[in-house]
């Protein structure tokens, strides 16, 4: 019970015909001493609540004395009032102290009783995870969309025109030999194949929309090669295509530099060196400084300080002509590289075949 509610006691002087006998101090004092002892004896918060009600509630001796106050003489009333007020305050404070003690004890007891070994929790199924190639693929998409590119996709089964001929690799072109293809038993012999590169998406883009084009095309590609530690018969590439006005080799170099720093880290350098691809001219392979040794030369980079990443170049005028674009008006560049290889580099995966082995324990690490 809140002491403040009883605090508004009437300050009347004691009068005639007072009930009871004795001095206010000794009468109230005795009650107070008994109540204090009961408060200290209370062993639980519930007991304490009961003791407080007994000592200060409506049916308590103090309440009786309070009610008798008006019957006291005007002379004794202030003394009685003061004594009662004093007793209530003392008891209230004592109860509060005891309450704090008991609450602390109860918490301590509960803490002990409910103690758990949080390392003995049994495992529950975890969320799964994206394949490392997907994680790499999505990060590359994010970087390129951040650079203003859209993401374009195309079919995995292609015709000869989109995969080879339109890319300046007509029938019997020696460059076709380097990309041994899986052909389908469909149409004319060797007319339908599993795409050997993502470049046919470039052709489809240029056929289907007018420039400017700023797009990347990620996807699965196929080569008829026996798999080994660094090659798969089916793997993933991402290729960028830019067709716009006034695009030069210098823009190619700048774009590759921006992308490689974004993906591999700001300290990574890129370099272009002359190469040959039928669909670009000038053509370049692009390397990045070794991500392990930073370019000083180590085992990972064969001591040369550079890692070969992919191919690039200015779109060959013959490709523009194949899709009906005027190479005098439009220019552009393209570059592409392997997503699986980037994933293998990022996580230090020693054998690229692990990426398609699909071992649950291996995959759970990514």
């Amino acid at each position: 019970m809140d002491r403040s509610q009883d605090h508004t006691g009437q300050d009347q002087a004691p009068g005639e015909g007072e009930p009871g006998e004795g001095e206010p101090g000794s009468v109230v004092g005795a009650i107070e001493q008994a109540a204090l002892a009961a408060i200290l004896r209370a062993g639980t918060l519930d007991e304490l609540d009961a003791v407080v009600v007994d000592a200060t509630g409506k049916r308590s001796s103090l309440a009786d004395l309070q009610r008798q106050l008006s019957e006291r003489s005007a002379g004794s009333r202030p003394a009685w009032g003061k004594a009662l007020q004093q007793a209530r305050r003392t008891l209230g404070e004592a109860a509060e102290r005891r309450r704090t003690e008991l609450a602390a004890a109860q918490r301590a007891e509960r803490s002990v009783a409910e103690r758990m070994d949080l390392t003995e929790v049994l495992p529950a199924p975890l969320p799964g995870q994206l394949h490392p190639v997907t994680q790499t693929w999505e990060e590359l998409e994010d970087i390129f969309t951040g650079m203003g590119f859209v993401v374009a996709e195309g079919p995995e089964v292609e015709d000869d025109w989109h995969n080879f001929t339109a890319l300046n690799m007509p029938a019997n072109h020696p460059a076709r030999d380097g990309q041994d293809s899986f052909y389908l038993e469909m149409g004319e012999p060797e007319s339908v194949l599993l795409r050997t590169q993502t470049s046919p998406v470039q052709i489809r883009l240029m056929e289907s929309q007018p420039p400017p084009i700023w797009a990347v095309s990620p996807g699965r590609v196929y080569r008829r090669d026996t798999p080994d530690a660094s090659h798969l018969a089916a793997f993933h590439q991402i290729e960028a295509l830019v067709v716009d006005r006034g695009i030069s080799f210098a823009h190619l170099a700048g774009t590759i530099s921006t992308f490689t720093k974004a993906f591999f880290g700001p300290s990574v350098r890129s370099r272009l060196r002359p190469a040959y691809f039928p669909f670009t001219e000038p053509s370049a392979e692009f390397d990045i400084s070794c991500t392990l040794c930073g370019g000083d030369g180590c085992r990972s980079c064969g001591g040369v300080g550079w890692l070969e990443l992919g191919g690039s170049g200015m779109v060959d005028p013959a490709v523009f002509q194949a899709v009906g674009l005027d190479p005098e008006e439009w220019s552009g560049f393209a570059f592409g590289f392997g997503i699986d290889r980037c994933a293998a580099m990022r996580w230090g995966i020693p054998d690229i075949r692990l990426l398609v082995d699909n071992d649950a324990r291996f995959l759970s690490q990514f």
Partner: protein, 859 residues
């Protein structure tokens, strides 16, 4: 392409010592920057330290020994050794490894030994023992005059320290498949003169840029006519396959081992030294890039050669001992035949065994030709026979480089004991052939590519490269490589024949604009035929790395398409369901679909599979995921869920030549408690995550799935996938018999096309919700979802959800039906629902279900 530093230096004075690692590394970096990537750079020749040159003084038999002899050599001092070889005689210069020397591959220093009572104070060495080259013929015998007695073997020219470069050459650079080609590019870059000292520039020998060098030693004929000289007849029957054929007869040829320099370089570059004749042909090919072929003239029936198309089914045994069948490919094969018609070689690919050079050959007919690159490529590919020669011919050799090659061959053969280190250089030793006999070069030339002249706009080159290119800079970069850059007198119209104009000095109204030049391409550069090709050459010689990168961004906003965003959302939702993403093969074994219960699938076959396990295109992700799951279980990984997102294929639609492709996501659930129910829960979780409109499940039979536990999935009326449990028979076929497998498959392309949810939003209400339960006995023919949909409609605008919370099957409902208990929740936005309103709602919901379905309220 392998080459050595000493060989390069012989063709241009690079001034780099093999021991100077920094300069060698610089050279390697420059080669890489020119597009000739060193795959390895190796220092060679330091292993023969300690070995000295010695002259054989005495050779004596050892009593009681057949295979060894006592030899005394002079190596400055007399040294007695025991030797098992027999290919030397008194006076020969040999290599002595004295006691204490360490030979390549030896365990320790050479020790003094005693054999049959004779002390051997060292060892006379063979080229193999010295790590020089493969030659099992006995000791290394140096040509007389090649070295001084007592000098270290490493100081003998050709045997000293060197650097071996293994270069990756781009497919369009046949000229760089030669030491001369590499040296030419490198010399241009580092500004040193290209050309063998004192012999003129090899780049122009034989008529560079189409200017044919004709001299008295050449006799010229035309295709179709036989060109004869003495016993020799040369002709070309099919000039489209062989536009140019030359041959020269050398008589009185003496065969002997090649010079140490030649043998060593051949060995280092991956070819086995055989004899001076064969080695000279190989050496010329490596040095100049022009393959030649030496025939034993006396084994050519009829005396001479002709180039013609192979007859259908014609057979020839090539040098490697394999019988080849020709004339059966889609393109004609070119053969070289003897005068009587017998084929004696697969032109440009490999010579025939019948006319091979043998130790007894004394008359050599040397052939040098220019073959059609496409024909050589097709023949080599069809025969599966890639030779050093075919690799060069199919990329396009220099049609005007034949004379230089023949001349170099003769030079190499001419002076076997020439001053060491300079193969074929001036020396007064006897030649290996009779230079007064034989024939001149017999040359049949048909329609051979001429020099290409290209009109080049400087402005265009600048645009392509993003690099300022003035006329003089272009000339400085290109001309050292054999190009020539000249001004045009007048700007020609497009397509007009251009003539080289005189160089213009100074400006003037009558002269051509400075902006256009004419570039003449050397005949060994078939890769350069257009303006943009010239731009590439400019950039290559200038250095790609010296072009300053420029940044540019498009005007458009880069973002993913709805399909791509949907695919990502599906992936993430599946990950959230505890599934690991896998990539299974796109190609399956034939019959794999049938095994997975999809017997009616039309399998799209690969015509040329690599392995039988990957021979048809998948039409579903089910077989791949089942196989993947089975493999993981066999490895002891359990409690798995896996998913894959990828393309599946179906036969072409009408009017299309390509298969139908769909972007599909599939989830296979294989935890202990998984099955059809978990699959449906997964669908609900996905539908929730993707905020699909009106997601629904409709019983349906799906190939590969349990016939009683499969359904089609819809959103906004669009069929987006299927759900259920894998057919137990299918699971068993994949070795997964012991468990129920949940399956969920979604067509991501269709999901992306589902119209987005557009209904009114339910706003939070500050009034309390109310709920009641309704339990119906519903006929088994009515899906629970249908009843639920009826309730949801009947519940009206105050509905805050209808959920099935119990299903009862048993005696307290009629047979053929089951009890379905739903909890309905309501809330109004503007007041607390009272008893009367709730009673009305209850009544209308019960009424709707009982009226629309064979269902009764259970009480």
């Amino acid at each position: 392409m392998r080459t050595t530093l000493s060989w390069l230096t012989e063709l241009a004075p690079f001034g780099v010592a093999p021991s100077d690692s920094a300069a060698v590394a610089d050279m390697a970096a420059t080669l890489a920057d020119l597009g000739m990537i060193p795959e390895s750079v190796e220092r060679v020749g330091s292993a023969i330290e300690g070995v000295v040159v010695a002259r054989v003084e005495e050779v004596d038999a050892i009593p009681g020994a057949d295979r060894i002899r006592r030899v005394v050599v002079d190596a400055g001092t007399k040294v007695e050794v025991v030797c098992g070889a027999s290919n030397f005689a008194q006076g020969d210069l040999v290599a002595l490894a004295p006691v204490g020397a360490v030979l390549p591959g030896a365990d320790g220093p050479l020790e003094r030994r005693r054999m049959k009572g004779v002390t051997s104070n060292g060892m006379l060495c063979s080229p193999v023992e010295l790590g020089l080259w493969e030659d099992r013929g006995g000791l290394l015998v140096l040509p007389a005059g090649a070295a001084e007695v007592g000098m270290p073997l490493a100081s003998v020219p050709g045997l000293g320290p060197d650097v071996l470069f293994d270069l990756e050459i781009q497919a369009n650079r046949p000229d760089a498949l030669s030491v001369a080609g590499v040296a030419r590019d490198l010399a241009a870059r580092v500004s040193v003169a290209f050309g063998r000292a004192g012999s003129g520039s090899p780049s122009t020998a034989g008529g560079a840029a189409g200017a044919r060098g004709v001299d008295r030693s050449t006799v010229v004929g035309r295709p179709g006519e036989a060109l004869s000289w003495g016993d020799v007849t040369v002709s070309v029957e099919d000039a489209s396959l062989c536009p140019r054929l030359t041959a020269q007869l050398l008589t009185g040829v003496r065969q002997r081992p090649s010079l140490p320099t030649v043998a060593r370089r051949l060995h280092l570059c991956g070819m086995r030294p055989i004899s001076n004749v064969v080695d000279a042909s190989n050496y010329v090919m490596l040095e100049l890039g022009q393959p030649t072929h030496p025939y034993d003239f006396d084994r050519l029936p009829g005396g001479g050669i002709t180039a013609r198309a192979a007859r259908v089914g014609e057979q020839i045994e090539t040098l490697d001992g394999v019988t080849r069948v020709l004339g059966v490919g889609p393109m004609p094969d070119c053969v070289i035949a003897a005068a009587d018609g017998t084929p004696v070689g697969v032109a440009g690919v490999m010579g025939g065994a019948s006319s091979e050079i043998s130790p007894s050959t004394s008359r050599v007919l040397l052939e040098a030709a220019y073959f059609d690159p496409r024909s050589i490529s097709a023949t080599a590919r069809r025969l599966g026979l890639r030779s050093e020669a075919s690799a060069r011919f199919e990329r396009g050799c220099d049609p005007w480089g034949l004379e230089a090659a023949v001349s170099r061959f003769c030079q190499l053969l001419g002076r076997p004991d020439a001053e060491p280190g300079q193969p074929g250089s001036n020396a007064s030793s006897p030649a290996s052939w009779d230079q007064s006999g034989g024939t001149p070069l017999l040359d049949i030339t048909g329609d051979v590519p001429r020099a290409t002249r290209i009109r080049v706009r400087l402005e265009r080159v600048e645009q392509v490269l993003g690099l300022p290119v003035e006329r003089d800079r272009m000339a400085t970069l290109l001309e050292p490589m054999g190009f020539s850059v000249s001004d045009l007198l007048h700007e020609p119209e497009h397509g007009q024949e251009v003539e080289p104009g005189p160089r213009r000095a100074g400006g003037g109204a009558a002269t051509a604009p400075r902006s256009t030049v004419e570039v003449t391409v050397p005949s060994w550069r078939p890769d350069t035929s257009r303006e943009v090709d010239v731009a590439e050459e400019v950039a290559r010689q200038w250095g790609y790395g010296k072009i300053s990168p420029l940044q540019r961004r498009p005007v458009q906003v880069g973002r993913l398409s709805p399909l791509q965003r949907t695919r990502r959302a599906v992936r993430r939702a599946m990950v959230g369901l505890g599934a690991s993403e896998v990539w299974t093969p796109t190609l399956l074994a034939a019959g794999e679909h049938k095994k997975a219960g999809m017997a009616t699938v039309v399998e799209l076959k690969v015509a040329n599979p690599l392995v039988a396990e990957e021979a048809v295109l998948r039409s579903s992700l089910l077989p791949g995921l089942l196989a993947c799951m089975a493999r993981n279980l066999s490895r002891g990984h359990d409690e798995l869920r896996m998913f894959e997102v990828g393309h599946v294929f179906a036969p072409p639609a009408a009017g299309s030549s390509l298969p139908e492709e769909a972007d599909v996501a599939a989830l296979l659930l294989a935890r202990e408690s998984d099955g059809a129910e978990e699959a449906v829960r997964s669908w609900r979780a996905l539908a929730h995550a993707l905020v699909l409109t009106d997601a629904s499940v409709e019983a349906d039979q799906k190939a590969g799935l349990h016939p009683g536990r499969s359904a089609s999935l819809f959103s906004a009326g669009v069929h987006v996938g299927s759900v259920g449990e894998v057919d137990p028979a299918v699971a068993e076929a994949f070795g997964l018999a012991s468990r129920r497998l949940g399956w969920l498959q979604l067509d991501v392309g269709r999901l992306a096309c589902v119209p987005p949810h557009t209904g009114p939003l339910l706003l939070p209400s500050r009034f309390p919700p109310a709920e009641f339960d309704l339990s119906f006995a519903v006929d088994d023919s009515v899906p629970a979802e249908t009843v639920q949909r009826t309730l949801a409609r009947a519940a009206g605008p105050w509905s805050a959800g209808v959920a099935l919370f119990d299903v009862y099957r048993g005696q307290r409902v009629q047979a053929g039906s089951r009890g379905l208990a739903f909890r309905l929740r309501f809330v109004a936005p503007d007041h607390t629902l009272d008893e009367r309103e709730l009673a009305d709602l209850r009544r209308s919901c019960v009424q709707a279900v009982e009226q629309e379905h064979p269902a009764t309220l259970r009480t």
